[in-house]
Symmetry: C2
Subunit: 341 residues, 2 copies
């Protein structure tokens, strides 16, 4: 019997996100061309096939899977998941549940992606609550992981310890950071700083449970300057961090654009410096990172940004593929078993 590396299969929601299905299908095609993977394109058959006709896909392993409905961005997640069993999100997660695919990728309703993953795939034994691990740009070339980025508005100490452990696994296995530095998001560096939750988390993490490399409290400023690889926090502060970062970057770029169009000298300067601006954009862009991972469910779920274009989708598929290849789920199961001993 020859041992053969099993081909990774991705279940891709083609109806979710601002640019669905055009950019989603385009991203899938680039991904399938780049890596030797199978992609299930889940959604309404006719618009998906219309997009596919634009490309030569003869050599690619693509399969369209019909889903009759769509969960819209504004819908109440849990309700929609239970009601719309024929939606692209639920059908795609179902492919992972049935073992046909190993990872689910979507740029649609984040809450619905989480709810569908929780309901259909289930929580991993021993995990208190699944969490979203988002990738943040930093001054380093490797992004930092923010966990939880918004799945749990309220947390307790035990949850934060598991976030630290899961984040550490994600950082070392998928991002490729050796012995990732784990910090707690706090409002000062000293052990005595913060609210009750963070004080408890500090106490629990300071002895490096489960072999994580805990470096202490970190302020919101330091993560962007590259001082930690994993930033642990409750989902409320994490979501605030993510959105403030997005808002500040957007504001700065708009102010820069408006000031650069001020007069001819500045316009010329801006024209000449265009390559630099492009590189800056590339280093900051969520497109490059590809999406957040929902950690703690029994399967791989990648949540891409609602505004994902083809390149962001391709990278989200890459995150899913690498998480499958590096067997992130088994590593988390192992961590839970070790902690339980």
């Amino acid at each position: 019997m020859t041992e053969e590396k099993k081909k990774v299969s991705i279940a891709l929601d083609c109806m979710g996100g601002d640019y669905a299905p055009t950019e989603i299908v385009k991203g899938a095609i680039t991904a399938a061309r780049t890596w030797n993977i199978k992609i299930f394109l889940v959604g309404k058959k006719s618009p998906i096939e219309e997009e596919l006709q634009k490309y030569d896909i003869s050599a690619l392993d693509l399969e369209v899977v019909q889903a009759d409905s769509i969960i819209e961005m504004g819908e109440s997640p849990a309700k929609a998941v239970l009601k719309k069993k024929d939606s692209s999100i639920v059908v795609a997660v179902g492919l992972v549940e049935e073992g046909k695919a190993q990872a689910f990728v979507s740029a649609g309703n984040t809450g619905a992606c989480m709810a569908a993953s929780l309901i259909r795939l289930g929580r991993l034994t021993g995990i208190e609550r699944p969490a979203i691990a988002a990738l943040l740009p930093t001054l380093n070339r490797k992004p930092a992981i923010l966990i939880d980025a918004g799945a749990n508005a309220e947390c307790d100490t035990k949850m934060l310890i598991q976030f630290a452990q899961m984040g550490s696994i994600f950082s070392s296995k998928v991002v490729g950071v050796e012995n990732p530095r784990v910090g707690i998001l706090n409002i000062g560096g000293e052990a005595s700083k913060g609210n009750t939750l963070m004080l408890g988390a500090y106490k629990a993490l300071k002895d490096n449970p489960g072999g994580i490399n805990f470096v202490g409290n970190v302020e919101g400023r330091e993560v962007f300057l590259g001082e930690v690889d994993v930033l642990v926090c409750d989902g409320f502060s994490g979501n605030v961090t993510l959105k403030v970062a997005e808002g500040v970057a957007k504001m700065l770029m708009q102010i820069l654009r408006s000031e650069l169009s001020h007069d001819f000298r500045n316009q010329l300067g801006a024209f000449l410096a265009k390559p630099a601006f492009k590189r800056v954009k590339k280093r900051l862009d969520y497109e490059e990172y590809g999406g957040s991972l929902l950690l703690g469910v029994n399967g791989i779920t990648v949540i891409a940004h609602g505004g994902s274009n083809d390149s962001a989708i391709k990278n989200a598929i890459r995150v899913g593929m690498e998480s499958v290849e590096k067997d992130v789920t088994s590593k988390i199961i192992g961590m839970c078993e070790m902690s339980a001993v």
Copy 2:
């Protein structure tokens, strides 16, 4: 009897901040030259007088007040304030307590400034907890107010309502925004979003208590795009917001600088666009805003950034002066009396 506008007096801690006393004294001199105010320069006499000798101060109303010790940045605030009664912070706050000055300004240990203000000036009757109101740059020309920016790591609903009211007074009286839009920092726009604290605050604020102009939940992104004038939150999230914003701006500027030095074309572009970059820096810089106000104590306390230069100090003095002239404290007392009825 002629009615005369009383000259504003400022008690300035000359020993606090990274560039004390040089930049602090320089800022005081510019402020005293620009506005008709009196400034008490509090700290060690000989270094302050050494700085003063560099300038022609004959026409200015400056008075050096000796303080023998300094509260350092790392010291435990409450303990230091109780122990070091001869520190520049405690002596300067004492001048406000005695009625010799109307506002206290410092770039020193933030916790110590708060503790000294609370202990010596006291809380305003009816105020649950004082809060720090920080100014955030936005796409609008007028900054938004973030309250609480870090005084209270843990908050309850009643505190948030008062933050909304105090922030509203600060925005309309000092920043000059008519009928300021007040939002809650949250992780989604819907009324059902957020943690227990924010759900409670939304419910309490939705009927616009005390005539504030409540516009609902706001995500961290939107405040920088200018969609609210006052952003209400607990001190933990507020401090995270402030520091994330600082970190992202710093990261972006560093990335931009490194990419612009990439080759000759980009360097030339950067050189030509220099005036635009300068204007961007000016629009974002905390120097322009001058410091945060501690609201809810019986007096005006302005907390400047630890890295304040002369221009930041001048603007911090301006914030103190305007808060005195616009009688922010009485307005807050009035608000408390109205709410108590």
